[in-house]
């Protein structure tokens, strides 16, 4: 059905005019979206776009290279603090500060990649987890980084424009997201991308075939951290205010959950996973406002549970989704999509 006959077919961006049409329609819809949507929905879209960037970067590491990271909130924090510090203290313009901060995050990713060469499984999990916790603690205790009080994000000026509303920021964000996703998609199709996949599938075999494990594993960590750094830098301007308590272990866990729920090792997976989990996160924060379910839950909470802890239902929902995905569909939502597509393509048979 999907047989590839030459190398060009494997690397081409669009397989048919239909795909080009739907893709342009999607891009167009994304750019027109703020004209029709209210401010809150634009904010939600910004929030989702940022998580998509992190999830795409983490997917390179977890899905394609087969490493585990429970410390991406650390890179995210480096990106956020780096961007704001460079803008406030060093007077960098935004478009320079963002890649610089992301580059700093990538350097930390490279450093974390070095021990990862010798670690795997739970050892790697605890090392990355320790890194994430350590980074946020260190940032939170140093006065230069605003300490416990946090930092306010300055306004962004790009040339003659000042981006001070969510809608204006949305255009910048969506452009960057699309560019970064394109870059990721192309990276997977290059020699480096194939090396990542080879390391995931059989690292010793890959080494025998001439893949430089040292280079490609640290590269995967660095690129992944770079994405998290960019996303962190942008996140600071969506929240307008950052403090160390935002970048918790729970955040790292949510990033990992997005990738796993969406589908490991696919382009669409992290996009779907990040969209679903972010939307749920925002919805479940005010769970009692949901029609019908909310009232029922309120009564249930009054009788059997506590009404003060009702917002913690979101943990139950996220946890159940994570368990269900791994148990029933290890390829994630993307796996469900692939199977449905296959089923309908060969439908009567």
């Amino acid at each position: 059905m999907d047989m590839k006959r030459d190398y060009y077919e494997d690397v081409q961006l669009f397989t048919s005019p239909v795909v080009i049409f739907w893709f342009s329609a999607l891009i167009g819809a994304l750019y027109l979206f703020p004209l029709f949507a209210g401010n809150y929905y634009v904010y939600v879209a910004n929030y989702i776009a940022i998580n998509i960037i992190v999830a795409a970067g983490l997917n390179l590491l977890v899905g394609y290279t087969g490493q585990i990271s429970l410390g991406h909130a650390g890179f995210f924090a480096i990106g956020a603090y780096g961007t704001i510090i460079l803008m406030i203290k060093a007077g960098f313009p935004f478009l320079l500060a963002l890649p610089c901060a992301a580059f700093i995050a990538a350097c930390f990713g490279f450093l974390l990649g070095l021990p990862a060469l010798r670690l795997e499984g739970p050892y790697l999990a605890i090392a990355t987890l320790g890194f994430g916790l350590t980074i946020t603690q260190i940032i939170g205790r140093i006065e230069f980084f605003g300490g416990r009080e946090g930092l306010h994000a300055p306004d962004i000026t790009i040339g003659p424009w000042v981006l001070d509303t969510d809608k204006e920021f949305y255009y910048l964000l969506i452009t960057l997201t699309i560019l970064l996703l394109f870059f990721m998609r192309n990276l997977i199709k290059t020699r480096a991308g194939r090396a990542f996949i080879a390391i995931r599938d059989a690292d010793i075999a890959a080494q025998t075939m001439g893949v430089n494990i040292l280079y490609y594993k640290t590269l995967a960590f660095a690129v992944s951290a770079f994405y998290a750094g960019i996303a962190g830098g942008l996140f600071a301007f969506v929240l307008k205010f950052i403090e160390p308590e935002i970048f918790t272990l729970m955040m790292s866990i949510m990033f990992l959950a997005m990738v796993v729920v969406g589908g490991l090792g696919s382009m669409m997976g992290p996009i779907v996973g990040a969209t679903l989990l972010c939307w749920l996160d925002l919805k479940l924060r005010n769970i009692l406002d949901i029609p019908y379910v909310g009232e029922w839950l309120e009564q249930l909470s009054r009788h059997w549970f506590s009404i003060t802890g009702v917002s913690n239902i979101q943990y139950i929902v996220f946890g159940s989704i994570m368990i269900a995905i791994v148990l029933f569909e290890p390829l994630g939502l993307y796996g469900i999509w692939i199977r449905t597509k296959k089923y309908w393509r060969t439908w009567p048979f």
Partner: protein
């Protein structure tokens, strides 16, 4: 000098609770190679169960603790039977995600049921009852934790080394197919492992709950226990206890002499450094990967 001794004593005291959590983790990893991130929350729900028995149902202390231990064992058995066993293609990442999922469900359940505010546990020993030896203070609770950690470590060590069930657990980890061939019901063994581990976790939870009791109380001991388990090599019971005491003591000395600010993170920095030098932990035999 007194300061130094006091800090070391405090380090040993806090190390004991890390050691208990680490032991619970190692038991599961030894048998099934699952890094159990839900360990902390399994202990959490057990200690909240104990609190509920003591305050809402007015059961006296010792029967309540006995019921809690029964509950903990059943909880561990249930989780293994209902969730872990159902995983189709177990790999490390999948197991980590499942156990984190269990953790979040239990955490959400406890904080929904009991609210997020600080609770008090009607424990027979208060957190401030203490012995004074010379100029050194040590609370009774800390002594109890220390005794519990060392006792459980020795019992478990002997159990794994000499009892039939312990040997069966070892066999299950080393080669589960061969274990099945010689007549070991590996599924049942795994269930028992989870039960025992949950019990050890519950002991840790009960001993921590008098000082601090809210839904996030187990995160720090769990992560430090996990760190100690990794540092001790993930499979060695004495290794994890020694590593836990090392972490506790280093943490306290660092807090006393270098900077109190970074006390909580120094353990993780040490872990990353140790893993850079010895990737399989301090007390494990050299780890060889099967190709």
């Amino acid at each position: 000098m007194i300061d130094l001794i006091q800090m070391i004593v405090n380090g040993i005291a806090v190390g004991s609770s890390y050691a208990l959590m680490g032991l619970a983790m190692v038991i599961i990893y030894k048998t099934s190679e699952v890094p159990n991130f839900a360990q902390g929350e399994m202990a959490l729900i057990s200690s909240f169960f104990a609190m509920m028995l003591l305050t809402s149902f007015n059961i006296s202390v010792y029967p309540a603790f006995f019921l809690t231990f029964v509950f903990a064992v059943l909880l561990g058995v249930f989780l293994e039977f209902a969730i872990l066993r159902r995983a189709k293609e177990p790999n490390v990442l999948g197991m980590i995600v499942i156990t984190i999922g269990i953790e979040m469900v239990l955490l959400g359940f406890v904080s929904w049921k009991f609210g997020a505010e600080q609770k008090t546990m009607p424990f027979p020993i208060g957190p401030y009852d203490s012995f004074i030896i010379g100029d050194i203070f040590i609370s009774k609770l800390e002594v109890l934790t220390l005794v519990a950690a060392l006792l459980l470590m020795s019992v478990l060590y002997l159990f794994f080394k000499y009892s039939k069930l312990g040997l069966a657990m070892k066999a299950t980890q080393q080669n589960s197919v061969a274990a099945q061939i010689v007549g070991i019901r590996t599924n049942r063994i795994l269930m028992m492992t989870w039960g025992i581990s949950s019990l050890v976790g519950a002991v840790a939870g009960l001993l921590i709950s008098p000082t601090i009791m809210h839904p996030f109380m187990m995160w720090d001991p769990m992560l430090k226990g996990f760190a100690a388990a990794v540092m001790g090599g993930m499979t060695s019971l004495p290794g994890v206890v020694i590593a836990a005491y090392m972490l506790g003591i280093i943490e306290n000395l660092f807090g006393g002499y270098v900077s109190i600010e970074f006390k909580t993170v120094v353990a993780f920095a040490i872990i990353v450094l140790v893993l850079c030098i010895k990737p399989s932990g301090l007390f494990a035999r050299h780890y060889v990967k099967k190709v």
